[in-house]
C-alpha cells in the first residue's frame, strides 16, 4: 500500500509525527503527549482539515484531535480497520411479484461515510438495500443497476441521455416499473428531461431521493424508497414522477408530475412541491391514492418514444433590476443557441437589454420567457413591455417552470437548430409542462401566523 493510503488525509506536521512512529491509520495506539495519554484508533483525516492535528477515536467512541507538535510517543498495539458493510442479504425472488428496476445515479438515497472528506458518499446494491430496508421484498422483485455515482449537481447531458437509454432498454425487456435514485438538488431537472426523452412510457418511471442521508436513524430514505418502489410496482400512473415526502412527518409521499415539480426548501423533507397544479397522487406503505384522473395509464404494450438528445449551449438568465445588456451579449458571443429568461411579473425585463435581445434575434439565438414568480403564466400581451419583447422575438412559455423550460430548450436544440421547428417543439406540450388552466388550489402557500392556518396546522400532523 502506498504512503498516501497508509496515512490517508494527513500532511505536514501531522504526517511527519505519524511517520516517525510508523503509526498508520487504523492503528490501535497509546499516544502520549506533554499532558496526557490517549488510547484509541488513529483515524484518517479529512483532506479539507489542517495539517497540525491527528484524529484519534477513543475507546468510548468519541473522536478528538491532538496537536502533532505535542506528541511525545506513539505505541502501537494493533490494528482495527473499519469496514462499512451494510449486512448484505440476497434479495428474495417471488414469481408472483412485479419486477422493478432501480437505477442508481448517486445522491443520498443510499449512502455511507467517507473518511477522507468526512462526507457522505453513495453506496447501493439490492443485497444492501434488502439488508437495510427489508420491506422492499414484500413489494416486488427488485433489481438494481448503478448507472452513475455522482452528486446531483454533477448530473449533465451525458448522464441524462444515458439514463433515458437505460430506461428504454429496461422497458423493452418488459420491466413493470422503474425507480431512479437521484440527488435531490437537481432531481426536478432530471425529472423534466426524462419526461421529454421518454414519451408515452407504458410503465411508471419514479424518481426518488432523500433529504436526510440514510446514515441517520431519522432518514427519510427508507420510506421514500418504499413509496417509490411501491409506485413503480403497483401504480397505474405511467408517467415520469418525483416521489418524495408529503409532510415532514413519516406519513405519506407525494407523486409529482415530472414537469411541474420543484425543490422548494434547502433542507426540509417535504421540499418537493407541484407548482401551479395539484400532484398526481399520494402514496403510503398501504396504498396509492390518485388526486386526479387525467394521468397517462399503465399499459401492457411496449410502445414508447425515445428522444435522447440534448444541446447544452443553453442558459437561464434570472433577470434582476438594472441588468446590463452585456449579460446577453456575452452569451451570444460565446455561441449559446438558446436562452431562457426568468422574468419579473408576467414576463418582463428592463429596456436597456432590448438592444441585446435584438442582437440575439439577429444571431439566431432562441430566446424564451418564463416567470421568476414560479406560479402563474408569462402573459406578455398585457403590458407594453411584454409586447415590445415579443417584437424582439422573445417567446412566452405560458406556465412552464424556468428549469423545465431550460431542459426543454436544450432538448429541442438537441434535435434541430431551425428556430421555427424549435419553437414548434417548445410550444407543443409533451408531458404537462404547460397547462391550459391553473386551478385555484394550484397556488396554495399557507401563511404561518394567520389564525385559521394555525388552527389547521394544530389539528393535523405536519
Amino acid at each position: 500500500m502506498d504512503e498516501k493510503e497508509l496515512f490517508k488525509g494527513y500532511r505536514g506536521a501531522a504526517l511527519e509525527a505519524l511517520k516517525q512512529y510508523n503509526a498508520y491509520i487504523w492503528s490501535d495506539v497509546e499516544l502520549t503527549t506533554d499532558e496526557s495519554t490517549f488510547i484509541g484508533l488513529i483515524l484518517p483525516r479529512s483532506e479539507q482539515q489542517d495539517e497540525f492535528h491527528i484524529v484519534i477515536k477513543l475507546r468510548t467512541g468519541y473522536n478528538i484531535g491532538v496537536r502533532a507538535s505535542k506528541v511525545r510517543d506513539i505505541k502501537i498495539n494493533g490494528r482495527k480497520e473499519a469496514h462499512y458493510k451494510i449486512p448484505e442479504k440476497e434479495f428474495p425472488y417471488s414469481p408472483k411479484m412485479p419486477r422493478v428496476m432501480l437505477f442508481g445515479t448517486g445522491g443520498t438515497i443510499a449512502s455511507r461515510l467517507d473518511y477522507r472528506t468526512g462526507a457522505v458518499i453513495p453506496a447501493f446494491s439490492p443485497g444492501e438495500l434488502y439488508g437495510s430496508v427489508p420491506e422492499l421484498a414484500d413489494i416486488c422483485n427488485l433489481e438494481t443497476v448503478k448507472l452513475y455515482g455522482v452528486f446531483s449537481e454533477n448530473m449533465g447531458p451525458e448522464q441524462w441521455i444515458g439514463t433515458a437509454k437505460a430506461i428504454a432498454a429496461e422497458i423493452e425487456k418488459g420491466v413493470d416499473g422503474i425507480v431512479i435514485g437521484h440527488g435531490t438538488d437537481t432531481m426536478h431537472h432530471t425529472a423534466a428531461i426524462l419526461s421529454f426523452m421518454i414519451q408515452d412510457s407504458p410503465v411508471p418511471i419514479v424518481m426518488v431521493g432523500s433529504q436526510r442521508s440514510s446514515d441517520r436513524p431519522s432518514s427519510d430514505a427508507a420510506l421514500n424508497l418504499i413509496h417509490s418502489v411501491k409506485t413503480a410496482a403497483e401504480s397505474d400512473i405511467a408517467e415520469v414522477m418525483v416521489c418524495m415526502f408529503g409532510p415532514t412527518s413519516d406519513m405519506y409521499g407525494i407523486l409529482h408530475r415530472g414537469t411541474r415539480v420543484r425543490k422548494m426548501h434547502s433542507s426540509y423533507r417535504s421540499t418537493f412541491r407541484t407548482i401551479g397544479d395539484i400532484p398526481l397522487a399520494t402514496v403510503n406503505n398501504q396504498s396509492i391514492k390518485p388526486l386526479r384522473s387525467d394521468y397517462k395509464k399503465r399499459r401492457n404494450d411496449r410502445n414508447f418514444k425515445l428522444v435522447p438528445y440534448f444541446d447544452d449551449n443553453v442558459a437561464i438568465v434570472y433577470y434582476y433590476p438594472a441588468m446590463h445588456p452585456d449579460i446577453f451579449d456575452s452569451l451570444i458571443e460565446r455561441g449559446y443557441k438558446g436562452i431562457v429568461i426568468a422574468g419579473t411579473g408576467l414576463g418582463h425585463v428592463n429596456k436597456p437589454v432590448y438592444p441585446a435581445l435584438k442582437r440575439a434575434q439577429e444571431a439566431g439565438v432562441a430566446v424564451y420567457m418564463t416567470v421568476q414568480t414560479l406560479w402563474g403564466y408569462a402573459q406578455m400581451y398585457v403590458y407594453d413591455t411584454g409586447r415590445d419583447l415579443m417584437e424582439l422575438g422573445v417567446v412566452p412559455l405560458a406556465n412552464m417552470l424556468p428549469e423545465v423550460a431550460f431542459m426543454k430548450l436544450g432538448w429541442a436544440l438537441g434535435q434541430t437548430h431551425e428556430l421555427d421547428k424549435v419553437k414548434e417543439i417548445m410550444l407543443t406540450p409533451v408531458a404537462g409542462e404547460m397547462t391550459e388552466r391553473e386551478p385555484s388550489n394550484g397556488y396554495l402557500i399557507f401563511q404561518g401566523g394567520i389564525p385559521e392556518v394555525e388552527e389547521f396546522i394544530s389539528t393535523i400532523k405536519k
Binding site: E35, S36, F38, S46, Q48, Q49, D50, H53, V55, K57, L58, R59, T60, G61, Y62, N63, I64, G65, V66, R67, K70, K80, A82, H83, Y84, K85, I86, P87, R112, L113, Y115, G118, A119, V120, S132, Q211, R212, S213, S214, D215, R216, P217, S218, S219, A222, L223, T248, S249, D250, M251, H265, S266, S267, Y268, R269, E454, I457, S458, K461, K462
Partner: protein, 638 residues
Amino acid sequence: MNINYFDFDFKPFNLMTPEDYAKVGFKSGLEVHQQLWTDKKLFCRCPAGHYSSNYNAEILRHMRPTLSELGEYDGTALMEFKTKKEIIYRINYDTVCTYEMDDTPPFMMNSNALDIAMEIAMLNNAHIVDEVHIARKQYLDGSIPTGFQRTAIVSVGGALPYKDKQINLIQMSIEEDSCREVSDVGHKRVYITDRLGMPLIETVTQPEMKTPQEVAEVNQIIRKMARSTGHVRTGMGAARQDVNVSVTGGTRIEIKGVSKITKIPLLTYNEAMRQWNLLKLRQELWNRGINAETFSAENADITKLMRKTRCFQISDAIAKGNRVRCVLLHGFKGLLRWQTQTDTYFSREISDRVRVIACLSTLPNIMHSDSMSESIPSSEWSIIKKSIGATENDTIVIVWGDERDSLTGANEIIIRAKEATIGIPSETRQALSDGTNGFERILPGPERMYPDTDLPPIKITQERYDKIKAGLPKSVWIRIKNYQDLGLSEKLSEEIAGSRFADTFEEVVYNLKVDPKYASFILIDFHKRLKKEKLNISVLSHEDYLDIFRNYQSGNILKEGVLHTIRKAMNLGKYSPDMLPKLCVDPELTQIINQAKAEFDRIKIRKPEFKTEILMGITMSKLRGKVKGQEILNLIKD
C-alpha cells in the same frame, strides 16, 4: 473468579457497612449532566431555557438503526427497532425551529457554551483537547428527532479532591439536551421538544466510589464545582446524572436520569443488591444443571385453551381479538419469585423487557406459575401445564397481546430467562421513585458513535485557551478556605462557594466591605426562604446585587430595605434602582414620631414604664426599613 454468592446476603439499607460493600465489590462511577447558562441553544439560535408544555403542531417520525463508522450495528439500535414505535414530537414555535425538527442542518456550535465548558474543564484540572470533534451518538428511543445526539469531547482526565483522596475524571463532553417524554403507551411515544438542543456538559468520573454514600458526596462536589462558575443553570432538571454501578462478577449498569442526589444512595444500594442476587440466581441455575447450553424453553399459542378463563385480564384480551401465549421455562420452578431488589423479584426483570420491547405496557403484562397470588385459578394452570407438557420442576409464563406483540413478548421472556444463566445483561435502567430501578434499554456500546458530517472540527486556539484561563474563577476549594478565614463556618463556606453567588459574595465582602455574616445571610439563607416561597430566585444579576449592597453600605438603605428590595424584584421579575425604599427624614420623620406620641397619649396604658417599647412598636410599623431603630429610639427619648 470463584465466588460463592451465597456467602453474603444483602442487609437492609441502613444496616449495610462499608465493609459489606467491600465484600460485594461495590464500584460506582458518575456521568453528571449540567445545563450551561447561555442565551441560545447549542446548535441553533432558539432561545435557551424557555419551557412550556403548550404546543402548536405535531410531527410523526420513526427511527431506523444505521451503521456506525466501524461498520457495526449497535445492540440498542436493534432493540429499539424491534419495538417499532411511532414517535410524536410536540412543537412550540417559540422554542423550536427547523433544526430541532431535523429539517435543517446544524449551525456552528454556540461558542459561548464551549467557553463555559472549557472553563469548567479547567477548574477540574482536566486537559482541554486541541481539536473538538463533533460526534453523533445514536438514540433510537426517539428522544432526539435526528436519531442521534450531537456531542463532543472538550477535555480528558482531571481530578477533584475528595476527603483524603481524589476522584479521577475520564472526560467531559459538551452536548445537546434531549426531549422530555410526555407518555409512552403501547406503540406510541410522545415527546415535548422545548428542552431539546439546550447546551449541557457531561462530566464522567472513573468508577472509584466504593459506597452509595460516596457516590452522592462526589456528585455534590462535581455539581458545586460547575455551579461556582455562575455559568450553569440550576433548578428542576438542569442537572441530572447517570449512575454506573457494578459488583464483583457483575456488569457495569447505568441508571439513567437521576435528578435528585439524595436518591442516589438507595438506588445504588438496590442495584448492587440486584446484581448480587442475579449472580446468586445464576449459581442456583448452575446448581440445577441449567446453563447457557442446557437452557431450554418452549412457547405456544394457548388462545383456544384460554377461551373460558376466569382471569379477567386474559378474557378481556381475547375478547379484543388478542392472542395468548405461554412460555415453558424448563427447570425454573420458583425462580421467578427470586428476590432481586427490595420487594422486587426476577419476574419484574421479565415483565420490564416485555413492556419495553414488546410494547405491552398495561400491567400486569405477564402471569407465571411461581406466583401464588395471581388471578388464574389452579385448575386452569393444570390444564395449561398439561397441554404444554410441563413437569413439577418447570415454570410457565403467560403473555398476551396482538399477534406480533405477543410473539415478541414470548421471545423476550425466553431471551431474558436465558440471560439469567449467563450473568447480568448490559442494560441502562431507569430510577423509580421507591429507590429500585427498572429496565430501560440494552446498554449501547461505542458502536453507536459516529462523526457528525455536518460540522467541521473546532480548533481550540491558544488565544482562546489563554483568555479563558485568565478569567478563571477561583477553585471552590480555595474559596472555602478563604471564607473560613473570614470567620464563617465550614458548612456555610461550602454552601457559598458552591453557589452561583460566590463571585457576588466575594465582591460584596472584599470590595464593598460588607460584613461577611450579613452578606451570607442575604445571599444564602434569605434566598432559601424565598425559594421556599416559590419565588424565582434567579431574577437579579450580579450587578443588581452589587447595586443593592452598595446602597446598603453607604447608608442609603437599611437591612430591612435590602430584604424588601430583593423580594420586590423577584415578585416583579426584574430589578430597578427605584425599588430601593427611600429613607424617612425630617420633617416627615418628626411628624410620624409626634403622631405616635399623640396616639400613645390617647390610649390607656397600664404600665407606663414600658412607654419607650410601646412607642417603638407604633413607629416601627410605619418606618420599618426606612429609619434605623437606634435613631427612632433617640427621637422617642427626646
